[in-house]
């Protein structure tokens, strides 16, 4: 076989990525010698997994369209697996989940692995609007309950973190409550030195969403920062943005964002941190300062249209207040 790398940011790469519907990097698309798509998969998961996918592609070189017809006539685990990968590699996470559910039904021994992949695709797909929060919730609550029964504490905690992120992003943070409650039980069952790296964030999310205790959440958030974070532009921005998103400690957060902007290593980074500062100005009711701040971001990175949309948003807000 022939392996050819396509740099999606250069030369013919962007057009090819568009042509093949590439949703992220790396994505691998296998073609027959006649140029027909026979398999595709998203991500690199180590040499064994890569070898397995290539071997399966060589063993069944039929085009994807023929495989889909064969699956429709008589679904098998192998076909469901290949078609699930191919759909995900074209950004169709919803189709991928449908195939994976069929594979899970046909191959009950693989239930945990299929469920884990289904959840990954659903969280990814939800960001692209391919799944509603209700759909993810239905699958995730079942997955978390099973993980809890199986004593898979890492999975219980990871699902909680991902649900907290999704629910907050969709403006319904309370939907993550039952997940976070179960995750705290898991967190307490795991020895401290075996906790996952995101355990501090889990405690923060629990304080914020389950307990509704913002001061405690802030305290935990700050305690989770590495030493010297107040001299690190990226950390300052991250903490300030968290304060903005969760409406916590916003006045001090504005100071942190402005300090982060001073310390930023490049104009692009500075513009990004100024956007955080502008949002905080706006949240604190200072429209003029928000407008002035986002204008500085535009000057520093005029190519990024997002800042221009932010300016329009702040100006509209000011006009609405004046009117």
């Amino acid at each position: 076989m022939i392996l050819f790398a396509v740099d999606c940011e250069k030369g013919e790469g962007p057009d090819l990525a568009k042509q093949y519907g590439i949703p992220g990097y790396p994505t691998y698309v296998m073609l027959t010698p006649d140029g027909e798509r026979s398999a595709a998969w998203l991500g690199y998961d180590g040499p064994e997994s890569f070898h397995e996918k290539v071997t399966a592609g060589i063993a069944d070189p039929r085009p994807v369209t023929a495989k889909a017809e064969a699956y429709a006539a008589a679904p098998t685990v192998a076909l469901a697996r290949v078609l699930a990968d191919d759909a995900a590699a074209a950004g169709r996470l919803d189709d991928s989940v449908t195939y994976l559910r069929k594979a899970r039904e046909l191959d009950p021994a693989g239930y945990p692995a299929y469920t884990s992949e289904i959840m990954g695709n659903m969280f990814f797909g939800a960001r692209k609007g391919q799944f509603t929060l209700d759909e993810v919730d239905a699958e995730a609550s079942q997955a978390q309950a099973m993980a809890q029964m199986g004593g898979l504490h890492d999975k219980v905690m990871l699902l909680a973190m991902r649900m907290a992120g999704l629910a907050a992003g969709q403006g319904e943070p309370a939907r993550a409550k039952p997940y976070l409650e179960r995750a705290m039980t898991s967190l307490q069952a795991v020895p401290a030195d075996e906790l996952p790296g995101f355990a501090p964030d889990l405690r923060v999310a629990h304080a914020l969403i389950v307990e509704g205790n913002k001061p405690k959440a802030l305290e935990l958030k700050l305690a989770a920062q590495p030493e010297g974070w107040q001299d690190d532009a990226s950390r300052l921005n991250s903490v300030a943005w968290w304060c903005f998103e969760n409406q916590v400690n916003q006045e001090q957060a504005l100071d942190w964002a402005l300090r982060g902007a001073e310390l930023a290593a490049s104009d692009e980074d500075r513009a990004e941190i100024l956007d955080t500062a502008a949002e905080l100005c706006q949240a604190l009711g200072n429209c003029d300062e928000a407008i002035a701040t986002i204008k500085r971001a535009i000057e520093l990175n005029p190519g990024r249209d997002y800042y221009k949309r932010q300016l329009a948003k702040f100006e509209a807000s000011k006009a609405a207040q004046a009117g």
Partner: protein, 51 residues
């Protein structure tokens, strides 16, 4: 070539699938497709970026 691409290529070499590496392979997409057809071999496109 980014790390994942290199690892993928190494995986193929180690596991004996006989990959033709991009470094000494076709210059562009059209050439890769033409080579695959001429040699009657499957072609794997590795969509990546060097950020």
């Amino acid at each position: 070539m980014q790390r994942t691409t290199l690892l993928a290529a190494l995986a193929l070499l180690v596991l004996g699938a006989g990959a033709a590496l991009a470094a000494d392979g076709p210059a562009d997409y059209a050439a890769a497709k033409a080579l695959a057809k001429a040699e009657n071999k499957p072609l794997v496109l590795d969509f990546m970026t060097d950020w």
